[in-house]
Protein backbone atom coordinates (compact mmCIF):
# COMPACT_ATOMS: atom_id res chain seq x y z
CA UNK A 1 0.00 0.00 0.00
CA UNK A 2 2.81 2.36 0.85
CA UNK A 3 5.97 2.40 -1.25
CA UNK A 4 8.71 4.86 -0.47
CA UNK A 5 11.86 4.97 -2.58
CA UNK A 6 14.99 6.95 -1.66
CA UNK A 7 12.89 9.69 -0.17
CA UNK A 8 14.48 12.76 1.40
CA UNK A 9 13.03 15.79 3.08
CA UNK A 10 15.09 18.89 3.57
CA UNK A 11 14.17 22.01 5.52
CA UNK A 12 15.93 25.27 4.87
CA UNK A 13 16.01 27.53 7.87
CA UNK A 14 17.91 30.66 7.06
CA UNK A 15 21.38 29.51 6.07
CA UNK A 16 21.00 26.10 7.65
CA UNK A 17 19.86 23.08 5.70
CA UNK A 18 18.28 20.47 7.88
CA UNK A 19 17.98 16.99 6.44
CA UNK A 20 14.92 15.63 8.26
CA UNK A 21 14.68 12.47 6.16
CA UNK A 22 17.75 11.04 4.52
CA UNK A 23 17.19 8.65 1.65
CA UNK A 24 14.47 6.49 3.15
CA UNK A 25 13.20 3.28 1.59
CA UNK A 26 10.12 1.81 3.12
CA UNK A 27 7.11 -0.21 2.13
CA UNK A 28 4.09 -1.01 4.23
CA UNK A 29 1.52 -3.65 3.34
CA UNK A 30 -2.19 -3.28 3.62
CA UNK A 31 -3.49 -4.43 7.01
CA UNK A 32 -0.18 -4.00 8.81
CA UNK A 33 0.28 -2.27 12.17
CA UNK A 34 3.57 -0.39 12.08
CA UNK A 35 5.09 1.46 15.02
CA UNK A 36 7.68 4.09 14.22
CA UNK A 37 9.97 4.90 17.14
CA UNK A 38 12.67 7.40 17.68
CA UNK A 39 13.72 10.34 19.80
CA UNK A 40 12.57 13.81 18.91
CA UNK A 41 14.34 15.08 15.81
CA UNK A 42 14.75 11.57 14.45
CA UNK A 43 12.44 12.40 11.53
CA UNK A 44 9.60 10.11 12.56
CA UNK A 45 7.00 12.88 12.53
CA UNK A 46 8.22 14.18 9.19
CA UNK A 47 7.96 10.70 7.76
CA UNK A 48 4.45 10.36 9.10
CA UNK A 49 3.40 13.73 7.65
CA UNK A 50 4.63 12.66 4.26
CA UNK A 51 2.90 9.30 4.51
CA UNK A 52 -0.25 11.20 5.53
CA UNK A 53 0.00 13.44 2.44
CA UNK A 54 0.23 16.52 4.64
CA UNK A 55 3.71 17.24 3.36
CA UNK A 56 5.57 16.50 0.16
CA UNK A 57 9.09 15.07 -0.10
CA UNK A 58 12.04 17.14 -1.39
CA UNK A 59 13.23 14.22 -3.46
CA UNK A 60 12.44 10.58 -3.99
CA UNK A 61 9.17 8.87 -4.66
CA UNK A 62 6.17 8.06 -2.58
CA UNK A 63 3.41 5.84 -3.88
CA UNK A 64 0.26 5.55 -1.86
CA UNK A 65 -1.95 2.83 -3.29
CA UNK A 66 -2.13 3.80 -6.98
CA UNK A 67 -1.07 7.40 -6.55
CA UNK A 68 2.34 8.87 -7.14
CA UNK A 69 1.99 11.33 -4.28
CA UNK A 70 5.05 13.42 -5.20
CA UNK A 71 3.26 14.59 -8.34
CA UNK A 72 -0.12 15.44 -6.84
CA UNK A 73 -1.40 19.00 -6.35
CA UNK A 74 -2.86 20.27 -3.10
CA UNK A 75 -6.44 19.46 -4.09
CA UNK A 76 -5.58 15.84 -4.88
CA UNK A 77 -3.65 15.56 -1.63
CA UNK A 78 -6.66 16.92 0.25
CA UNK A 79 -8.86 14.36 -1.45
CA UNK A 80 -6.50 11.53 -0.49
CA UNK A 81 -6.44 12.69 3.13
CA UNK A 82 -10.18 12.94 3.06
CA UNK A 83 -10.99 9.55 1.58
CA UNK A 84 -8.18 7.18 2.46
CA UNK A 85 -6.39 8.52 5.52
CA UNK A 86 -7.44 9.25 9.08
CA UNK A 87 -5.33 11.17 11.57
CA UNK A 88 -5.17 10.78 15.33
CA UNK A 89 -3.10 13.45 17.03
CA UNK A 90 -1.41 13.61 20.39
CA UNK A 91 -3.43 16.64 21.49
CA UNK A 92 -6.66 15.46 19.80
CA UNK A 93 -7.05 18.60 17.60
CA UNK A 94 -10.80 18.79 17.94
CA UNK A 95 -12.57 22.02 17.01
CA UNK A 96 -13.66 23.54 20.32
CA UNK A 97 -16.86 25.15 19.02
CA UNK A 98 -18.27 21.96 17.58
CA UNK A 99 -19.77 19.10 19.58
CA UNK A 100 -18.55 15.51 19.27
CA UNK A 101 -20.86 14.65 16.42
CA UNK A 102 -20.05 17.80 14.47
CA UNK A 103 -16.33 17.15 14.88
CA UNK A 104 -16.77 13.65 13.52
CA UNK A 105 -18.91 14.97 10.65
CA UNK A 106 -16.20 17.41 9.56
CA UNK A 107 -14.31 15.12 7.11
CA UNK A 108 -17.65 13.95 5.73
CA UNK A 109 -18.59 17.57 5.03
CA UNK A 110 -15.54 17.94 2.84
CA UNK A 111 -16.26 14.72 0.98
CA UNK A 112 -19.72 16.08 0.14
CA UNK A 113 -21.84 13.42 1.78
CA UNK A 114 -25.46 14.44 2.34
CA UNK A 115 -26.77 15.44 5.74
CA UNK A 116 -28.57 12.21 6.54
CA UNK A 117 -25.73 9.95 5.48
CA UNK A 118 -23.02 11.87 7.29
CA UNK A 119 -24.96 12.12 10.55
CA UNK A 120 -25.57 8.38 10.38
CA UNK A 121 -21.89 7.65 9.73
CA UNK A 122 -20.83 9.99 12.55
CA UNK A 123 -23.16 8.35 15.06
CA UNK A 124 -21.95 4.91 14.01
CA UNK A 125 -18.32 5.97 14.38
CA UNK A 126 -18.99 7.45 17.83
CA UNK A 127 -20.82 4.28 18.85
CA UNK A 128 -17.93 2.14 17.76
CA UNK A 129 -15.58 4.02 20.10
CA UNK A 130 -18.11 3.81 22.94
CA UNK A 131 -19.28 7.43 22.97
CA UNK A 132 -22.90 6.89 22.06
CA UNK A 133 -24.06 8.98 25.03
CA UNK A 134 -21.58 11.87 24.48
CA UNK A 135 -22.69 12.81 20.98
CA UNK A 136 -23.71 16.37 21.83
CA UNK A 137 -20.89 17.17 24.24
CA UNK A 138 -18.31 19.75 23.31
CA UNK A 139 -14.62 18.86 23.63
CA UNK A 140 -14.26 20.89 26.85
CA UNK A 141 -17.04 18.80 28.40
CA UNK A 142 -15.16 15.57 27.70
CA UNK A 143 -12.20 13.92 29.41
CA UNK A 144 -8.90 13.48 27.57
CA UNK A 145 -9.62 9.85 26.82
CA UNK A 146 -13.07 10.70 25.53
CA UNK A 147 -11.65 13.47 23.35
CA UNK A 148 -9.14 11.08 21.87
CA UNK A 149 -11.94 8.62 21.16
CA UNK A 150 -13.85 11.40 19.38
CA UNK A 151 -10.79 12.06 17.27
CA UNK A 152 -10.52 8.35 16.45
CA UNK A 153 -14.19 8.41 15.49
CA UNK A 154 -13.41 11.37 13.24
CA UNK A 155 -10.53 9.44 11.69
CA UNK A 156 -12.63 6.36 10.90
CA UNK A 157 -15.91 8.06 9.94
CA UNK A 158 -14.97 8.19 6.26
CA UNK A 159 -13.84 4.51 6.25
CA UNK A 160 -10.16 5.17 5.49
CA UNK A 161 -7.64 2.53 4.49
CA UNK A 162 -4.93 3.99 6.68
CA UNK A 163 -4.89 5.52 10.14
CA UNK A 164 -1.92 7.61 11.20
CA UNK A 165 -1.59 8.06 14.94
CA UNK A 166 0.99 10.57 16.14
CA UNK A 167 1.70 9.86 19.83
CA UNK A 168 -1.99 9.11 20.44
CA UNK A 169 -1.41 8.28 24.11
CA UNK A 170 1.08 11.05 24.78
CA UNK A 171 -1.39 13.32 26.54
CA UNK A 172 -3.21 10.56 28.43
CA UNK A 173 -2.63 8.64 31.64
CA UNK A 174 -1.45 5.08 31.12
CA UNK A 175 -4.79 3.41 31.83
CA UNK A 176 -6.65 5.61 29.36
CA UNK A 177 -3.76 5.19 26.93
CA UNK A 178 -4.25 1.45 27.01
CA UNK A 179 -7.95 1.87 26.20
CA UNK A 180 -7.04 3.95 23.18
CA UNK A 181 -4.48 1.38 22.04
CA UNK A 182 -7.11 -1.34 22.38
CA UNK A 183 -9.40 0.63 20.06
CA UNK A 184 -6.60 1.02 17.50
CA UNK A 185 -5.85 -2.67 17.80
CA UNK A 186 -9.49 -3.52 17.12
CA UNK A 187 -9.48 -1.27 14.07
CA UNK A 188 -6.38 -3.03 12.79
CA UNK A 189 -8.11 -6.33 13.33
CA UNK A 190 -10.85 -5.09 11.00
CA UNK A 191 -8.25 -4.63 8.29
CA UNK A 192 -7.33 -0.96 8.61
CA UNK A 193 -3.63 -0.30 8.19
CA UNK A 194 -2.20 1.60 11.16
CA UNK A 195 0.98 3.62 11.36
CA UNK A 196 1.75 4.70 14.90
CA UNK A 197 4.43 7.14 15.97
CA UNK A 198 5.58 6.87 19.58
CA UNK A 199 8.63 6.93 21.78
CA UNK A 200 7.25 4.54 24.37
CA UNK A 201 8.29 0.93 24.05
CA UNK A 202 5.13 -0.59 25.51
CA UNK A 203 2.96 1.44 23.16
CA UNK A 204 5.14 0.57 20.17
CA UNK A 205 4.75 -3.07 21.15
CA UNK A 206 1.14 -3.04 19.94
CA UNK A 207 2.54 -2.93 16.44
CA UNK A 208 3.34 -6.02 14.44
CA UNK A 209 6.33 -4.28 12.96
CA UNK A 210 8.61 -1.81 14.72
CA UNK A 211 10.74 0.72 12.88
CA UNK A 212 13.39 2.64 14.77
CA UNK A 213 14.64 5.93 13.36
CA UNK A 214 17.55 8.18 14.09
CA UNK A 215 18.81 11.32 12.36
CA UNK A 216 16.47 10.89 9.42
CA UNK A 217 17.44 7.32 8.69
CA UNK A 218 15.88 3.97 9.47
CA UNK A 219 18.03 2.34 12.10
CA UNK A 220 16.16 -0.86 12.55
CA UNK A 221 13.09 -2.45 10.97
CA UNK A 222 11.81 -5.73 12.32
CA UNK A 223 8.76 -7.83 12.95
CA UNK A 224 7.55 -7.66 16.50
CA UNK A 225 7.99 -11.11 18.03
CA UNK A 226 6.03 -10.17 21.15
CA UNK A 227 2.89 -9.57 19.19
Amino acid sequence: MININSLSKEYIMGDNRLLALDNIDLSINEGDFVSIMGSSGSGKSTLMNIIGCLDVPSSGEYHFRDNNVSTLNSNKLAELRNKDIGFVFQNFNLLPRLNAQENVVLPLLYSGKNLKERNQLAIEALESVGLKDRVHHRPNQLSGGQQQRVSIARAIAGSPKLILADEPTGALDSKTGLEIMKILNDLNAKGITIVLVTHEDDIANYGSRIIKMKDGRILEDKRNVNN
Binding site: G52, L54, L95, R97, L98, L109
Partner: protein, 408 residues
Protein backbone atom coordinates in the same frame (compact mmCIF):
# COMPACT_ATOMS: atom_id res chain seq x y z
CA UNK B 1 -18.94 21.23 0.75
CA UNK B 2 -22.31 22.88 0.27
CA UNK B 3 -23.11 26.54 0.91
CA UNK B 4 -25.50 25.71 3.74
CA UNK B 5 -22.75 23.74 5.50
CA UNK B 6 -20.37 26.66 5.05
CA UNK B 7 -22.95 29.08 6.42
CA UNK B 8 -23.57 26.75 9.35
CA UNK B 9 -19.87 26.58 10.22
CA UNK B 10 -19.44 30.33 9.73
CA UNK B 11 -22.31 31.30 11.99
CA UNK B 12 -20.91 28.93 14.65
CA UNK B 13 -17.64 30.76 14.73
CA UNK B 14 -19.25 34.20 14.48
CA UNK B 15 -21.56 33.40 17.37
CA UNK B 16 -18.68 32.27 19.49
CA UNK B 17 -17.47 35.88 19.29
CA UNK B 18 -20.69 37.77 18.95
CA UNK B 19 -19.59 41.10 20.45
CA UNK B 20 -16.54 41.17 18.22
CA UNK B 21 -18.63 40.40 15.15
CA UNK B 22 -21.01 43.28 15.86
CA UNK B 23 -18.25 45.76 16.71
CA UNK B 24 -16.53 44.76 13.50
CA UNK B 25 -19.60 45.55 11.48
CA UNK B 26 -20.01 49.01 13.04
CA UNK B 27 -18.43 50.75 10.07
CA UNK B 28 -20.77 48.95 7.71
CA UNK B 29 -23.72 49.80 9.97
CA UNK B 30 -22.95 53.51 9.81
CA UNK B 31 -22.12 53.38 6.12
CA UNK B 32 -25.28 51.58 5.11
CA UNK B 33 -27.56 53.71 7.27
CA UNK B 34 -25.99 56.81 5.70
CA UNK B 35 -26.57 55.42 2.22
CA UNK B 36 -30.24 54.78 2.97
CA UNK B 37 -30.77 58.17 4.62
CA UNK B 38 -28.94 59.92 1.80
CA UNK B 39 -31.04 58.33 -0.90
CA UNK B 40 -34.23 59.00 1.03
CA UNK B 41 -33.40 62.66 1.50
CA UNK B 42 -32.62 62.96 -2.18
CA UNK B 43 -35.74 61.27 -3.43
CA UNK B 44 -37.83 62.98 -0.75
CA UNK B 45 -36.67 66.38 -1.98
CA UNK B 46 -37.37 65.37 -5.56
CA UNK B 47 -40.88 64.24 -4.72
CA UNK B 48 -41.54 67.38 -2.71
CA UNK B 49 -40.42 69.55 -5.60
CA UNK B 50 -42.62 67.57 -7.96
CA UNK B 51 -45.56 68.00 -5.60
CA UNK B 52 -44.97 71.74 -5.31
CA UNK B 53 -44.89 72.04 -9.07
CA UNK B 54 -48.04 69.99 -9.20
CA UNK B 55 -49.69 72.38 -6.72
CA UNK B 56 -48.46 75.75 -7.81
CA UNK B 57 -47.67 75.17 -11.46
CA UNK B 58 -44.26 75.45 -12.97
CA UNK B 59 -42.50 78.40 -14.56
CA UNK B 60 -44.54 80.93 -12.65
CA UNK B 61 -43.56 84.35 -11.32
CA UNK B 62 -45.80 86.13 -8.90
CA UNK B 63 -45.76 89.91 -8.83
CA UNK B 64 -47.34 91.43 -5.75
CA UNK B 65 -48.00 94.96 -4.54
CA UNK B 66 -45.73 96.09 -1.80
CA UNK B 67 -46.16 99.17 0.29
CA UNK B 68 -43.17 101.31 -0.37
CA UNK B 69 -42.05 103.09 2.70
CA UNK B 70 -43.67 106.46 2.79
CA UNK B 71 -41.34 109.03 4.28
CA UNK B 72 -39.78 106.34 6.34
CA UNK B 73 -43.08 104.94 7.57
CA UNK B 74 -44.07 101.56 6.20
CA UNK B 75 -47.68 101.55 5.24
CA UNK B 76 -48.32 97.86 5.92
CA UNK B 77 -48.73 95.05 3.49
CA UNK B 78 -52.33 95.62 2.50
CA UNK B 79 -52.49 99.32 2.69
CA UNK B 80 -51.60 100.11 -0.90
CA UNK B 81 -52.31 98.33 -4.12
CA UNK B 82 -49.72 99.56 -6.53
CA UNK B 83 -50.33 97.05 -9.32
CA UNK B 84 -52.83 97.75 -12.04
CA UNK B 85 -54.30 95.97 -15.01
CA UNK B 86 -52.35 98.46 -17.14
CA UNK B 87 -49.13 97.06 -15.74
CA UNK B 88 -50.35 93.63 -16.75
CA UNK B 89 -51.15 94.64 -20.30
CA UNK B 90 -47.81 96.46 -20.61
CA UNK B 91 -45.87 93.41 -19.43
CA UNK B 92 -47.71 91.17 -21.88
CA UNK B 93 -46.89 93.54 -24.66
CA UNK B 94 -43.24 94.16 -23.81
CA UNK B 95 -42.16 90.65 -22.91
CA UNK B 96 -42.81 87.95 -25.50
CA UNK B 97 -41.46 85.32 -23.09
CA UNK B 98 -44.66 85.71 -21.10
CA UNK B 99 -47.26 83.17 -22.09
CA UNK B 100 -50.10 84.27 -19.88
CA UNK B 101 -50.83 86.47 -16.89
CA UNK B 102 -53.58 85.90 -14.35
CA UNK B 103 -54.52 88.98 -12.33
CA UNK B 104 -55.85 88.65 -8.83
CA UNK B 105 -57.80 90.64 -6.31
CA UNK B 106 -58.70 89.07 -3.02
CA UNK B 107 -60.46 89.53 0.25
CA UNK B 108 -61.16 87.44 3.24
CA UNK B 109 -64.82 87.38 4.01
CA UNK B 110 -67.82 85.58 5.36
CA UNK B 111 -69.59 83.11 3.06
CA UNK B 112 -73.11 82.04 3.89
CA UNK B 113 -74.99 79.16 2.34
CA UNK B 114 -77.31 76.42 3.36
CA UNK B 115 -77.58 78.00 6.79
CA UNK B 116 -73.84 77.65 7.35
CA UNK B 117 -71.20 80.31 7.86
CA UNK B 118 -67.62 80.09 6.70
CA UNK B 119 -64.72 82.52 6.49
CA UNK B 120 -62.81 82.05 3.25
CA UNK B 121 -60.47 83.85 0.91
CA UNK B 122 -62.30 85.10 -2.16
CA UNK B 123 -60.25 85.60 -5.31
CA UNK B 124 -61.29 87.59 -8.32
CA UNK B 125 -59.46 86.53 -11.45
CA UNK B 126 -59.70 85.16 -14.99
CA UNK B 127 -59.68 81.64 -16.43
CA UNK B 128 -55.87 81.76 -16.78
CA UNK B 129 -55.71 81.44 -13.01
CA UNK B 130 -56.79 77.79 -13.26
CA UNK B 131 -54.20 76.86 -15.86
CA UNK B 132 -51.34 78.66 -14.18
CA UNK B 133 -52.10 77.34 -10.73
CA UNK B 134 -52.67 73.80 -11.96
CA UNK B 135 -56.23 73.80 -10.68
CA UNK B 136 -58.40 70.94 -11.79
CA UNK B 137 -62.14 70.68 -11.60
CA UNK B 138 -63.87 67.96 -9.70
CA UNK B 139 -67.20 69.12 -10.97
CA UNK B 140 -68.76 71.93 -12.99
CA UNK B 141 -66.99 74.34 -15.31
CA UNK B 142 -64.87 77.45 -15.70
CA UNK B 143 -66.15 80.97 -16.29
CA UNK B 144 -67.59 81.71 -19.68
CA UNK B 145 -66.34 84.69 -21.64
CA UNK B 146 -69.68 86.39 -21.26
CA UNK B 147 -69.65 85.89 -17.48
CA UNK B 148 -66.18 87.43 -17.22
CA UNK B 149 -67.10 90.42 -19.33
CA UNK B 150 -70.49 91.15 -17.80
CA UNK B 151 -69.52 90.64 -14.18
CA UNK B 152 -71.88 87.74 -13.54
CA UNK B 153 -72.40 86.57 -9.99
CA UNK B 154 -70.95 83.09 -10.45
CA UNK B 155 -68.40 81.37 -8.21
CA UNK B 156 -66.13 78.35 -8.20
CA UNK B 157 -65.33 76.93 -4.79
CA UNK B 158 -62.61 74.76 -3.23
CA UNK B 159 -63.07 71.53 -1.34
CA UNK B 160 -62.75 73.05 2.13
CA UNK B 161 -65.47 75.59 1.40
CA UNK B 162 -67.70 72.86 0.00
CA UNK B 163 -67.17 70.72 3.07
CA UNK B 164 -68.03 73.50 5.47
CA UNK B 165 -71.03 74.82 3.63
CA UNK B 166 -72.51 71.81 1.89
CA UNK B 167 -70.85 68.86 3.61
CA UNK B 168 -70.68 66.20 0.88
CA UNK B 169 -73.60 67.49 -1.17
CA UNK B 170 -72.96 68.84 -4.64
CA UNK B 171 -72.66 72.65 -4.48
CA UNK B 172 -73.28 73.11 -8.21
CA UNK B 173 -76.16 75.53 -8.95
CA UNK B 174 -76.50 76.32 -5.24
CA UNK B 175 -76.47 79.94 -4.15
CA UNK B 176 -73.85 81.21 -1.74
CA UNK B 177 -73.72 84.69 -0.25
CA UNK B 178 -70.36 86.38 -0.34
CA UNK B 179 -70.44 89.56 1.71
CA UNK B 180 -74.24 89.31 1.45
CA UNK B 181 -74.11 89.24 -2.38
CA UNK B 182 -75.66 86.07 -3.83
CA UNK B 183 -73.50 84.02 -6.21
CA UNK B 184 -74.34 80.84 -8.10
CA UNK B 185 -71.79 78.06 -7.75
CA UNK B 186 -70.76 76.79 -11.17
CA UNK B 187 -67.71 74.70 -10.34
CA UNK B 188 -65.98 72.68 -7.65
CA UNK B 189 -62.17 72.42 -7.62
CA UNK B 190 -60.15 69.27 -6.97
CA UNK B 191 -58.49 69.09 -3.59
CA UNK B 192 -54.83 70.21 -3.50
CA UNK B 193 -54.27 69.71 0.20
CA UNK B 194 -52.60 72.05 2.60
CA UNK B 195 -49.12 73.43 2.75
CA UNK B 196 -47.35 74.22 5.98
CA UNK B 197 -48.76 77.76 5.89
CA UNK B 198 -52.13 77.63 4.14
CA UNK B 199 -55.07 75.48 3.17
CA UNK B 200 -55.15 75.85 -0.59
CA UNK B 201 -58.66 74.43 -0.80
CA UNK B 202 -60.13 77.15 1.40
CA UNK B 203 -60.93 79.31 -1.60
CA UNK B 204 -63.76 80.89 -3.56
CA UNK B 205 -63.04 82.14 -7.07
CA UNK B 206 -65.22 84.70 -8.89
CA UNK B 207 -64.71 86.64 -12.13
CA UNK B 208 -62.33 89.58 -11.73
CA UNK B 209 -64.86 92.11 -12.90
CA UNK B 210 -67.56 90.81 -10.54
CA UNK B 211 -65.19 91.00 -7.62
CA UNK B 212 -64.09 94.52 -8.43
CA UNK B 213 -67.64 95.75 -8.88
CA UNK B 214 -69.40 94.00 -6.03
CA UNK B 215 -66.91 92.86 -3.42
CA UNK B 216 -63.73 94.94 -3.39
CA UNK B 217 -64.72 98.17 -5.08
CA UNK B 218 -63.34 100.22 -2.20
CA UNK B 219 -60.24 98.14 -1.63
CA UNK B 220 -59.18 97.95 -5.27
CA UNK B 221 -60.53 101.08 -6.97
CA UNK B 222 -60.12 101.63 -10.69
CA UNK B 223 -57.94 98.96 -12.25
CA UNK B 224 -55.88 98.20 -9.17
CA UNK B 225 -55.13 94.59 -8.46
CA UNK B 226 -53.45 92.72 -5.62
CA UNK B 227 -51.10 90.53 -7.60
CA UNK B 228 -50.53 88.76 -10.86
CA UNK B 229 -49.25 85.34 -11.72
CA UNK B 230 -47.00 85.41 -14.76
CA UNK B 231 -46.48 82.21 -16.69
CA UNK B 232 -43.20 82.06 -18.63
CA UNK B 233 -42.94 80.06 -21.83
CA UNK B 234 -40.08 77.87 -20.71
CA UNK B 235 -38.08 77.27 -17.58
CA UNK B 236 -34.88 78.48 -19.31
CA UNK B 237 -36.43 81.92 -19.61
CA UNK B 238 -37.67 82.06 -16.03
CA UNK B 239 -34.79 83.91 -14.42
CA UNK B 240 -34.22 86.22 -17.34
CA UNK B 241 -37.92 87.08 -17.42
CA UNK B 242 -37.86 87.78 -13.70
CA UNK B 243 -35.23 90.46 -14.35
CA UNK B 244 -37.11 91.80 -17.37
CA UNK B 245 -40.33 92.07 -15.38
CA UNK B 246 -38.45 94.01 -12.75
CA UNK B 247 -37.04 96.38 -15.36
CA UNK B 248 -40.38 96.94 -17.07
CA UNK B 249 -42.20 97.41 -13.77
CA UNK B 250 -39.65 99.95 -12.57
CA UNK B 251 -40.07 101.83 -15.81
CA UNK B 252 -43.87 101.77 -15.51
CA UNK B 253 -43.78 102.85 -11.88
CA UNK B 254 -40.96 105.32 -12.47
CA UNK B 255 -38.63 103.79 -9.96
CA UNK B 256 -34.87 103.99 -10.51
CA UNK B 257 -32.81 100.83 -10.79
CA UNK B 258 -31.62 101.08 -7.21
CA UNK B 259 -34.77 102.68 -5.81
CA UNK B 260 -37.15 100.97 -3.40
CA UNK B 261 -39.69 99.10 -5.56
CA UNK B 262 -43.41 99.17 -4.73
CA UNK B 263 -43.80 95.62 -5.92
CA UNK B 264 -42.16 92.31 -5.16
CA UNK B 265 -41.49 89.46 -7.58
CA UNK B 266 -41.64 85.95 -6.20
CA UNK B 267 -39.97 83.28 -8.20
CA UNK B 268 -41.15 79.94 -6.96
CA UNK B 269 -38.34 78.19 -8.76
CA UNK B 270 -35.98 79.97 -6.42
CA UNK B 271 -37.52 78.26 -3.46
CA UNK B 272 -37.46 74.92 -5.21
CA UNK B 273 -33.84 75.39 -6.20
CA UNK B 274 -32.91 76.26 -2.64
CA UNK B 275 -34.75 73.19 -1.42
CA UNK B 276 -33.00 70.99 -3.96
CA UNK B 277 -29.68 72.58 -3.23
CA UNK B 278 -29.93 72.02 0.52
CA UNK B 279 -30.88 68.40 0.05
CA UNK B 280 -28.03 68.04 -2.42
CA UNK B 281 -25.55 69.40 0.12
CA UNK B 282 -27.00 67.06 2.73
CA UNK B 283 -26.70 64.15 0.33
CA UNK B 284 -23.09 64.94 -0.51
CA UNK B 285 -22.31 65.13 3.18
CA UNK B 286 -23.97 61.78 3.81
CA UNK B 287 -22.36 60.23 0.76
CA UNK B 288 -18.99 61.24 2.16
CA UNK B 289 -19.83 59.78 5.54
CA UNK B 290 -21.14 56.64 3.84
CA UNK B 291 -18.09 56.27 1.63
CA UNK B 292 -15.61 56.77 4.42
CA UNK B 293 -17.37 54.52 6.88
CA UNK B 294 -17.86 51.77 4.31
CA UNK B 295 -14.16 51.80 3.53
CA UNK B 296 -13.19 52.02 7.21
CA UNK B 297 -15.72 49.27 7.91
CA UNK B 298 -14.20 47.16 5.17
CA UNK B 299 -10.73 47.64 6.59
CA UNK B 300 -12.13 46.76 10.01
CA UNK B 301 -13.47 43.52 8.60
CA UNK B 302 -10.16 42.76 6.92
CA UNK B 303 -8.33 43.47 10.16
CA UNK B 304 -10.55 41.25 12.29
CA UNK B 305 -10.50 38.49 9.68
CA UNK B 306 -6.69 38.55 9.68
CA UNK B 307 -6.78 38.21 13.46
CA UNK B 308 -9.30 35.38 13.12
CA UNK B 309 -7.18 33.57 10.57
CA UNK B 310 -4.17 33.80 12.87
CA UNK B 311 -6.17 32.68 15.89
CA UNK B 312 -7.58 29.75 14.02
CA UNK B 313 -4.44 28.69 12.21
CA UNK B 314 -4.35 25.37 14.04
CA UNK B 315 -8.01 24.81 13.33
CA UNK B 316 -7.37 25.45 9.64
CA UNK B 317 -4.63 22.84 9.82
CA UNK B 318 -7.04 20.35 11.38
CA UNK B 319 -9.61 21.01 8.66
CA UNK B 320 -6.95 20.53 6.01
CA UNK B 321 -5.78 17.29 7.63
CA UNK B 322 -9.28 15.84 7.40
CA UNK B 323 -9.55 16.82 3.76
CA UNK B 324 -10.45 20.52 3.39
CA UNK B 325 -9.27 21.86 0.08
CA UNK B 326 -7.92 25.40 -0.40
CA UNK B 327 -11.24 26.31 -1.91
CA UNK B 328 -13.16 25.10 1.17
CA UNK B 329 -11.04 27.20 3.51
CA UNK B 330 -11.21 30.22 1.21
CA UNK B 331 -14.98 29.98 0.98
CA UNK B 332 -15.45 29.52 4.68
CA UNK B 333 -13.56 32.69 5.58
CA UNK B 334 -15.13 34.62 2.73
CA UNK B 335 -18.57 33.63 3.93
CA UNK B 336 -17.64 34.66 7.44
CA UNK B 337 -16.64 38.15 6.34
CA UNK B 338 -19.66 38.30 4.06
CA UNK B 339 -21.89 37.42 7.01
CA UNK B 340 -20.30 40.10 9.19
CA UNK B 341 -20.85 42.70 6.50
CA UNK B 342 -24.39 41.53 5.76
CA UNK B 343 -25.31 41.60 9.44
CA UNK B 344 -23.86 45.10 9.50
CA UNK B 345 -25.90 45.88 6.41
CA UNK B 346 -29.11 44.62 8.01
CA UNK B 347 -28.55 46.59 11.21
CA UNK B 348 -27.60 49.58 9.06
CA UNK B 349 -30.82 49.30 7.07
CA UNK B 350 -32.83 49.15 10.30
CA UNK B 351 -30.95 52.13 11.69
CA UNK B 352 -31.37 54.04 8.43
CA UNK B 353 -35.11 53.39 8.45
CA UNK B 354 -35.23 54.61 12.05
CA UNK B 355 -33.38 57.79 11.09
CA UNK B 356 -35.67 58.36 8.11
CA UNK B 357 -38.86 57.99 10.13
CA UNK B 358 -37.42 59.97 13.03
CA UNK B 359 -36.30 62.86 10.86
CA UNK B 360 -39.46 63.01 8.78
CA UNK B 361 -41.59 62.92 11.94
CA UNK B 362 -39.53 65.40 13.89
CA UNK B 363 -38.47 67.90 11.28
CA UNK B 364 -41.45 67.37 8.99
CA UNK B 365 -38.88 66.95 6.28
CA UNK B 366 -40.19 64.94 3.43
CA UNK B 367 -38.20 61.70 3.13
CA UNK B 368 -39.14 58.97 0.79
CA UNK B 369 -38.02 55.40 1.29
CA UNK B 370 -36.60 54.14 -1.94
CA UNK B 371 -36.59 50.35 -2.15
CA UNK B 372 -33.65 50.58 -4.51
CA UNK B 373 -31.66 51.97 -1.59
CA UNK B 374 -32.18 48.75 0.35
CA UNK B 375 -31.05 46.69 -2.62
CA UNK B 376 -28.11 49.05 -3.04
CA UNK B 377 -27.20 48.67 0.63
CA UNK B 378 -27.12 44.91 0.31
CA UNK B 379 -24.96 45.16 -2.77
CA UNK B 380 -22.63 47.62 -1.02
CA UNK B 381 -22.23 45.66 2.17
CA UNK B 382 -21.82 42.29 0.51
CA UNK B 383 -19.24 43.58 -1.92
CA UNK B 384 -17.35 45.19 0.97
CA UNK B 385 -17.41 41.85 2.79
CA UNK B 386 -16.14 39.97 -0.23
CA UNK B 387 -13.53 42.52 -1.30
CA UNK B 388 -12.03 43.05 2.13
CA UNK B 389 -12.51 39.45 3.22
CA UNK B 390 -10.70 38.05 0.22
CA UNK B 391 -7.15 38.77 1.32
CA UNK B 392 -7.49 37.16 4.78
CA UNK B 393 -9.41 34.23 3.30
CA UNK B 394 -6.71 33.65 0.69
CA UNK B 395 -4.10 33.87 3.39
CA UNK B 396 -5.93 31.13 5.29
CA UNK B 397 -6.38 28.97 2.20
CA UNK B 398 -2.70 29.20 1.29
CA UNK B 399 -1.49 27.97 4.65
CA UNK B 400 0.67 24.91 4.55
CA UNK B 401 -1.22 22.13 6.38
CA UNK B 402 1.84 21.07 8.40
CA UNK B 403 2.73 24.60 9.51
CA UNK B 404 -0.90 25.28 10.36
CA UNK B 405 -1.20 22.09 12.41
CA UNK B 406 1.98 22.82 14.31
CA UNK B 407 0.98 26.44 15.04
CA UNK B 408 0.55 27.09 18.75
Amino acid sequence: MSITDLIYLSQKSLRSNILRSILTSLGIIIGVSSVITMISIGSGARIEVEQQIERFGSNNLIVRSQSSSNRGVSMGANSVNTLTLKDMEALKEELPAIKAIAPRVSLSTQIVANGNNWLATVTGTTNDYFDLGNWKFENGRRFEEEELNSGSRVAIIGKTVQKNLFDTDSPIDEVIRINKVPFTVIGLLDAKGGTAWADLDDTVIVPLKTAKQRLVAKKFPGDQIRSMTINVRSSDLLFKTEKDVDTVMRKLHKISANGNPDFVIRNYAQFLNARQESSRVMSILLATVAGISLIVGGIGIMNIMLVTVTERTKEIGVCMSVGAKKRDILLQFLIESLMISLIGGLIGIALGLGVIFGVSEYFKWKMSLDYMSIVLSFVFSSSIGIIFGFYPARKAANLNPIDALRYE
